[in-house]
Symmetry: C2
Subunit: 482 residues, 2 copies
Amino acid sequence: MRSLMGLIKPNLVLLRAKRFNSSGSTNPAMMFPCLDKMERVSEELRTTTVGTQGQNEPVYGKVKSGFEIFKSNRPFYTDYGGVLPNFQIAYETWGTLNEDKSNAILIHTGLSASSHAHSTNLNQQPGWWEKFIGPGNVCLDTNKWFLICTNVLGGCYGSTGPSSPDPADGLPYATRFPMLSVHDMVRAQKRLINEHFGIEKLYASLGSSMGGMQSLSYAQQFPSEVNKVISVSACARSHPSSIAMRHAQRQVLMGDPNWNRGFYYPTAAEPNKIPPHVGMKLAREIATVTYRSGPEWESRFGTERLDDERSPVLCPDFLIETYLDHQGEKFSLEYDANSFLYISKTMDLFDLSLSHKERSIRRRARAKELYESGTLNEAQDPLLDRTSDKKRHRTSTVEQSYQDLKQGCKPLLDNDVLVVGVKSDGLMPCLQQREIYSLLDGDTNPNVAHVELQESESYFGHDTFLLDLEHIGRSIGQFLCK
Amino acid sequence: MRSLMGLIKPNLVLLRAKRFNSSGSTNPAMMFPCLDKMERVSEELRTTTVGTQGQNEPVYGKVKSGFEIFKSNRPFYTDYGGVLPNFQIAYETWGTLNEDKSNAILIHTGLSASSHAHSTNLNQQPGWWEKFIGPGNVCLDTNKWFLICTNVLGGCYGSTGPSSPDPADGLPYATRFPMLSVHDMVRAQKRLINEHFGIEKLYASLGSSMGGMQSLSYAQQFPSEVNKVISVSACARSHPSSIAMRHAQRQVLMGDPNWNRGFYYPTAAEPNKIPPHVGMKLAREIATVTYRSGPEWESRFGTERLDDERSPVLCPDFLIETYLDHQGEKFSLEYDANSFLYISKTMDLFDLSLSHKERSIRRRARAKELYESGTLNEAQDPLLDRTSDKKRHRTSTVEQSYQDLKQGCKPLLDNDVLVVGVKSDGLMPCLQQREIYSLLDGDTNPNVAHVELQESESYFGHDTFLLDLEHIGRSIGQFLCK
């Protein structure tokens, strides 16, 4: 499917470029090659037969292979009151599980990653943490540890997600998929750990960004079933600014008419439906700003344009714009739009507070009750136009809210915890990792360690965890061996 | 036109809310009231007769009135090689011009503002800087100063912009409007100052955000025609991160099918065209994140949802989301989409460097030549698919680029300059105001003053200049009287 983008020749784009009324105007009319290109992609997608053969095999599912599958046939009740009658989790492993099963480390991924953290015999492509894993590696030494990485529940790289069939009718769940939480992802992983591997206690739960939320969640939900906890560039609860940025991404994607409220998967009846590739591209461009920006961009792109002698255009023109355009386009057909929406939302919803935990337990119990009585799908959650509701300001104070969070973090107090932050990160700013340290009584609790990378040490912003083996990788390696 | 939003009753929205396949699914299907609402707005716009009476009177033009108009009938050549055969500038004034015309202060606006900085007899609505202006005011004392504020060239509140008729055929320019620069806006204002008011030297050139760019530009282009320069929350050249955020806004707007490459104004032939209100709403939501975010949001919204007991939804759900949704919707029919695109781009392009200035002078001369020979509209600027160009990294070093900027700032060295920055500003971060100070040899140049507001002093992010009379207003007032 990726090669589709290669079909679209620049000269073809130029040939069909639209000009409006140029001859009668005072100035030359502007051209929009970026829009021409997107229209061309839509046309190609519409006329390509991919996706019509098997209605439950969306195209991006074919991008990845080489993972193992764990299937669970017992119902899974979600934190927000839904159910999955069954589910599967894609996973990969590296290293060898020792005899007493005490050397397992669960690696949690960020939003859009697959289980492929490192190359394997089944999939020899480099993984997303290729440099951080290997025999004798300063970060994750496969001679010592047995590493497990999963594609999260809700994802589209082998695990059950919105593109998977709803057992009720065999059609893709789409937006009939139940709302998820980061805690749900972790409980699904725990079945794999316990039921498939027979591991009772992880040596470590480790992750960055949304993975760092999962590592904390594992310890909050099952404190006695994990030894060490490593959380990089994450938080105990999302910041409203991060929610705002993800909100923008989701609304943009949902605004693409091809998204069709989530029902864009080709079916036998409508084989020519196409994914919302324009919305995905735009959403990824916004996301990329939050992942990178930072000082890197100044030295890499500055404010240079592709060509200072040309008249500026509204399509990509500055180097930084062409970079974003390219990043967006690459991603636009690689990841399932609904998976993106659901998982993005779980990050907004992530919250370690006690009240949040208690509500989730109540809702899971209620979902079980309704599902077992066969009435879950009738549950009404009438959505009025919420923006016209009168509530516009928070009802709890900052201090009350902090205390609620502190209560929720109590189970982690006996775990060994490493919290890592990066100064140039605008999405999960350093104050959030300092908050975790404070919630765990870092100043007086010898179990908690905190590392903060200064700008001089790393300048890739939020994405530093993907790139900086020297500071991030080494800190993790040292903490694991402590 | 604004009242159109009032027509859309929440209960109507609910009645037509779409549900897909809910009865056959495992879980209840999700609903999308926010999308229902946008579709309803489109329907209302399509069936409303507004806009069909005069094809050159776009709806938002009716929102504002009460300004004066200055018309210039000599051609205006733009920095990027276009021409306006004639143009008009909307402006308002406060206070009295003294006899020797030495007390005039030109107030420059940010991106989306009108000339209405303060209430007048003609328009008694509060202006966007209402608190900062008045007799005896700590910031702008109308007993002392004669204040002039314009709607910028390219705008849609009375000044010539993309919604104005192209004299070549009488139809709206749309995207046949020539690309603008901040320097162009200033040269247009200068005609008003010189030709209408007969003012030879401004007492001060003053502005915030894009207005702060204009105030610097005035002094760079006409150093001997302005005494004091005040630039708040602005920069000498945009940062790639700011360009990235504005790029995202523009691409989202251009992705709305109703934008139609700029040709969305209703005409006699196509009276039912509607403006790209969804794209504008989304663009404004992204912009709002860059204008505010900051510590304010934590204390105002935190991570509270409208209702913790309801299942989360992909439509606005968190307080911060409903705030953004509301801000976006308010703006979506208030401002011309093309004006937004052009003016947003001028901020990206703003650059005080010498090489930039020299290129602009060359291009204006070339435009004059082509226009006078009647061949400007044939000028070819072939736009290839620039994203596939090979240039991906900057060609000048950070240091070379800085020196170019320093050369360009030389004309300002003899002006009295005040530079103000705000710690919580993510869009025009403090390092950019410190850069201006450094470019003007602030450490050794007694003419330059620098004020930096700490987070404790103001926490509204970039928008602090609109709200903080105490720190920003008072600093300006003191500097003016110095």
